[in-house]
């Protein structure tokens, strides 16, 4: 995406205004929900995700005073069941409307974040369209998957940080980690970015805008030392007021949610909602390169050393990405999410939503052109998935022994993920989320009232 000052060429046509896109997206989602109800009633193949039935059953159990964990395969926070209790007494599609509304909210938040960083309107619109009109995105909420809720919370955390609202960011971070464990991987870059030279509680931090790259002052350039030095200086002031506050509030919220859930549902909650996700190894076929390795060893047990070795690539990549890119917070968490999914022991398609919601936030800073590098990345990634799905179909629906081929397809999918990740890194225009206080003019510093 090329840069330039905003002019009339950067303003999209009226029918492509953000408001129009949002309205059209809303109509599309309502239509899909209504259509989904029809398909469920009239066709053997259901539109609704089987997970939605699990959530609804759990919510129904909760509404009648029982534990949601009596529903087998319900492995979420009791909060989710609580949110969906209107399914029982209002309408069974209430949850789908809730998730689709969250999906639209994600679009709104993407627009808000990009406008805050002075991204031209046209580029904002295209970026938002990447989320709102992604077929995967608009089907996932309307089919009853809860991931849009998580995405909305994560984007709200980013907005809160951008507005200097530390306690709100911390509250939602604690809540989202309770809700879905994976955002714990964002803890380190968030803590690092709360450097007192960058972020001060009670003040709106100075943001690095989209146009700022060409107008850096000499002072700001000399601040950009090697990544090791940046990491060293950041770690030196590890126990700043902001970091301690963030840790205490988010940790407190996380523990409080868990404590309340444990009080009501005991060990069932701990095991199903938390420990299961931390220790999950599934021998059944999925996109992960580890699935066949796990299946071939499933009759025995993995030793502690084997478990540690299998965790090393994931840990190394996460550490490297945080060390190199923590200042560009949004880019960092996008890369972390892609890598986390790619190196995970289990990969299902719903995990892709975790980074789909962050992709529009990094596109305005990418030098990658759609023709032909962008298209190559898209084709490789989708092609590798399609290749895997073909072998998956042979195994699951034709009953052929193609475990080896399926595993090779998983290796190719990892290769595609790696290629795309490397290309995105190479083509990214590094842009820290916040500028330093001493380098910015006073007008960028706003006190919160």
């Amino acid at each position: 995406m090329s840069r330039g000052s905003e002019n009339t060429d950067d303003v999209p046509p009226k029918w492509m205004s953000f408001r129009s896109l949002l309205v059209f997206s809303m109509i599309l989602r309502v239509f899909l929900i209504v259509y989904g109800e029809w398909q469920d009633a009239h066709m053997e193949v259901r539109y609704t995700d089987v997970d939605y039935i699990v959530f609804s059953d759990a919510a129904s159990l909760m509404a009648s005073g029982e534990s949601p964990y009596k529903r087998t395969t319900y492995r979420y926070s009791p909060l989710l069941a609580l949110l969906l209790t209107p399914n029982s007494f209002f309408h069974r599609s209430f949850g789908k409307f809730l998730f689709s509304a969250s999906d639209l909210l994600v679009g709104w938040f993407i627009h808000t974040i990009l406008k805050e960083r002075k991204v031209p309107e046209k580029i904002c619109t295209y970026s938002v369209m990447v989320w709102l009109f992604n077929p995967f995105t608009f089907t996932i909420g309307t089919r009853g998957n809860c991931e849009p809720l998580v995405c909305a919370m994560i984007l709200w955390i980013i907005i809160s940080l951008m507005q200097g609202n530390l306690s709100q960011a911390a509250f939602w971070y604690g809540l989202v980690v309770h809700f879905r464990v994976y955002p714990i991987i964002y803890a380190l870059p968030i803590i690092l970015v709360l450097d007192s030279k960058i972020f001060r509680s009670g003040q709106k931090p100075p943001l690095e805008n989209w146009n700022t790259g060409q107008t850096k002052t000499p002072t700001s350039n000399t601040e950009k030392k090697t990544f090791l030095f940046n990491l060293f200086t950041a770690l030196k002031s590890l126990f700043s007021r902001e970091r301690i506050m963030f840790g205490l509030i988010s940790g407190g919220v996380f523990l409080a949610c868990n404590a309340v859930s444990f009080y009501f549902y005991g060990h069932e909650f701990l095991h199903e909602a938390l420990l299961y996700h931390l220790t999950r190894t599934d021998p059944r076929h999925n996109f992960s390169i580890y699935f066949y390795h796990i299946y071939l060893h499933y009759e025995g047990q993995f030793s502690a050393v084997e478990k540690l070795i299998s965790f090393l690539p994931q840990f190394t990549v996460q550490f490297a990405l945080v060390s190199c890119f923590w200042q560009d917070l949004v880019f960092c968490i996008f890369l972390q999410t892609v890598a986390f999914v790619a190196f995970n022991k289990v990969i299902t398609a719903q995990y892709f939503v975790w980074f789909y919601c962050l992709l529009p936030l990094i596109l305005p800073w990418s030098r990658m052109k759609l023709k032909w590098e962008g298209l190559l990345c898209i084709i490789l990634w989708i092609g590798a998935q399609t290749h895997w799905l073909l072998w998956g179909y042979m195994l699951e629906f034709k009953g052929l022994n193609v475990f080896l081929q399926l595993w090779v397809a998983g290796l190719l999918f990892l290769a595609a993920n790696t290629f795309v990740l490397v290309k995105i890194i190479q083509r990214h225009r590094f842009s820290p989320l916040f500028t330093r206080y001493e380098s910015s003019s006073p007008k960028h510093v706003k006190k919160l009232h």
Binding site: K216, T226, L296, V317, E396, L411, L414, A415, F430
Partner: protein, 299 residues
């Protein structure tokens, strides 16, 4: 007239033969004295309901037989083994097959109801499918089938964990209730289609694992009356655990992992993970250094 009446009376009690099977843990294990189980008197909605609520945690064929013996009604007569008027049970199952492809298939069963059963005025056919290890029925899928009125009632007992591979799971039983009307006796056949799903199988060098099905247990019961919890229902035993060797063998070959793949799959998996991690690490560090150089030049 008198002959007909005698025939009807004698056919009140029905003999069920189970022939010994080759393996004692296969479905359809023969029971030496199972012909003594004539009818059951149960107070639960489902026959299997009390099996898993007592000391049984998994399905065992000999324990199941003892369980049925304990459910017997006390007032049964033992018929003459040589009475030619008693129709052998093998005529009940007309057809049995596993249809479909892949990991999701259907177990088809055709049952012939003989007109003489009509005289007992028992309105519910109860089928117990004691599933072998390696396959399972999804209780929620069966619920939606029931909502479409295909069965009058259905439930799954035993191991209902859908995610475990077969070597970490136990067997399960599907109990299906079908309302029968006089028309069913005229038409002669009741067809059942039970959707089943394959579990992940133990490793096998051939690449496939064979799962074999025996025959279902069949009962003809009086209808369950709602809210009459303690009222006993009477179930006439039509057939118990017919051996697969007496009929055409019904089996399902399910893909299984090949043990010989273990070493090189593990080695290459880790190699791929390490290679990818190194690629991302190098790209990250280089990109970070390039940005630093650019900014140094600009300053």
């Amino acid at each position: 007239m008198a002959t007909q009446l005698r025939r009807s009376l004698l056919t009140l009690i029905f003999i069920c033969w189970a022939i010994s099977s080759t393996s004692s843990d296969q479905v359809g294990t023969s029971y030496g004295d199972s012909d003594q189980i004539r009818s059951l008197c149960i107070s639960d909605r489902f026959i299997m309901e009390s099996y898993f609520t007592t000391t049984h945690t998994s399905l065992d064929d000999s324990e199941f037989r003892n369980f049925l013996l304990h459910q017997q009604c006390s007032s049964d007569k033992i018929p003459s083994e040589h009475d030619p008027n008693i129709v052998p049970a093998t005529s009940l199952i007309q057809h049995r097959n596993v249809t479909g492809e892949g990991s999701h298939r259907n177990l088809l069963t055709s049952i012939k109801l003989l007109p003489l059963y009509l005289e007992f005025q028992l309105q519910e056919l109860v089928i117990l499918e004691r599933l072998p290890l390696g396959v399972f029925a999804d209780p929620f899928e069966l619920q939606s089938i029931q909502q479409r009125r295909v069965f009058s009632d259905v439930s799954v007992f035993g191991d209902t964990n859908l995610e475990l591979p077969s070597f970490r799971s136990n067997r399960s039983v599907v109990e299906i209730h079908v309302e029968v009307s006089p028309r069913d006796y005229e038409n002669g056949e009741i067809s059942l289609k039970l959707p089943l799903h394959a579990r992940y199988q133990p490793l096998d060098d051939s690449g496939y694992s064979r799962v074999e099905f025996g025959e279902p247990d069949l009962f003809l019961c009086s209808s369950h009356v709602q809210n009459h919890q303690h009222e006993q229902r009477r179930c006439l035993v039509l057939s118990i655990g017919r051996s697969k060797t007496e009929t055409r063998s019904v089996f399902w070959d399910i893909p299984a992992g090949i043990r010989g793949h273990t070493e090189y799959v593990s080695a290459l998996t880790f190699a791929a993970a390490v290679l990818s991690a190194i690629s991302i690490l190098v790209a990250s560090v280089l990109s970070s250094k390039v940005e630093s150089c650019k900014n140094s030049k600009q300053s």
